[in-house]
């Protein structure tokens, strides 16, 4: 957990880490698994070299389930991103 001032000098208390070191995907086996339209656009970041070893785990959540910590989630520009899914809506 770390606190840092924002552009407006507000104090931010974060329960996560700001990721760095995004690069294009070059592994050919991995590119093969992606849709053609995604290959140029998907980036990758090595979490372990940034000190992240606990990626969290998805859990059975929802109606009648206990409250459990979420898995590690990605937020970009302070909005939740979408864990890759199919279909996209519904």
């Amino acid at each position: 957990m770390c606190g840092e001032p924002t552009k407006t000098n507000e104090l931010r208390i974060l329960g996560g880490t700001v990721l760095k070191g995004f690069t294009k995907v070059t592994d050919s086996d991995l590119l093969e698994r992606l849709e053609e339209s995604a290959r140029e656009n998907v980036l990758q970041a090595d979490l372990r070299i940034q000190g992240i070893h606990d990626f969290g785990a998805l859990k059975s959540r929802g109606f009648g389930r206990p409250t459990l910590p979420a898995h590690g989630e990605l937020f970009f520009d302070s909005r939740p991103m979408t864990l890759a899914r199919w279909p996209k809506c519904g």
């Binding site: 329960g15 070893h53 059975s60 959540r61 409250t67 937020f75 970009f76 890759a84 996209k88």
Partner: protein
């Protein structure tokens, strides 16, 4: 063409029972059949999850797939399986699949390699990518009194943002609490604690839970929520978590609702 949800096509005949309301539903342990060949494209079948409203539209859950048979188009989930049973035509979707990372804003972690894949919705250098880690509350106040937290951003965590137990007169004021894995604020016991003029966005479970007072003597707890803006709560637990509250004062307890 966008596909809107998938549907439970059927369940093994021998697992069907009457749900007590005249509908034949399949047992949770028995799994269900789906209607697409798309999962056959997925190279890894490990740690794929499904979200669905398995029997009724008011009870959702996320479940891990224990068995995915792409030939029979059959899914068996891991315990606790789902809710009530599998009802034909109920909707669900698959998540946590690398091959389906094909739109801006989607991401996936290969846990073995320790690599996160992400298609940023705008150039990566234009924004901040934050990965949540902490499973304990960002702030815990236990039997503490007269603490005010004002004008602070609390953001990006796996658990609750605030847990306040016991004590008196603590206040969260003018704060932004967002991108929280569970609840923004859990207040239990004590008296006169409150959340005032805060923005509370994008929580995984509910927004603010207040519990206090004494039912036997009808003594009010005095906890309050006032002048707050709530949006996009219940990202993960979509049913029966309080989603929108504005000015609620002098409550003994906020009952959970689906509204």
């Amino acid at each position: 063409m966008r596909v809107i949800g998938k549907h439970i096509q059927d369940f093994p005949r021998e697992t069907g029972t009457d749900d007590g309301h005249g509908t034949n539903i399949g047992s949770l342990e028995g799994g269900f059949f789906y209607e697409s060949d798309r999962p056959a494209r997925w190279k890894s079948k490990e740690n794929i999850w499904i979200h669905g409203y398995w029997a009724y539209d008011w009870a959702n859950s996320y479940e891990r797939i224990a068995e995915l048979d792409v030939t029979r188009r059959f899914i068996r989930t891991a315990e606790p399986y789902g809710n009530y049973g599998f009802n034909k035509k109920q909707r669900f979707y698959f998540l946590n699949i690398l091959e389906e990372l094909d739109e801006p804003g989607e991401w996936y972690v290969d846990k073995k390699a320790g690599i996160l894949y992400f298609w940023p919705p705008s150039p990566i250098e234009s924004g901040e990518a934050l990965f949540s880690l902490l499973e304990q509350p960002l702030v815990t106040l236990k039997d503490a009194s007269h603490v005010t937290m004002r004008g602070i951003v609390f953001e990006g965590t796996r658990g609750n943002a605030f847990e306040i137990n016991g004590g008196e007169g603590n206040r969260i004021a003018g704060c932004l609490v967002c991108n929280i894995g569970d609840w923004a604020v859990m207040i239990s016991g004590g008296k006169n604690h409150g959340v005032q003029s805060c923005d509370i966005f994008d929580t995984g479970d509910g927004g603010v839970s207040l519990e206090g007072g004494d039912r036997q003597t009808l003594t009010p707890g005095g906890h309050y929520v006032e002048n707050c803006h709530f949006a996009r709560l219940g990202r993960w637990s979509k049913c029966y978590v309080p989603r929108r509250l504005h000015d609620w004062r002098w409550l003994a307890r906020v009952e959970q609702s689906n509204s």
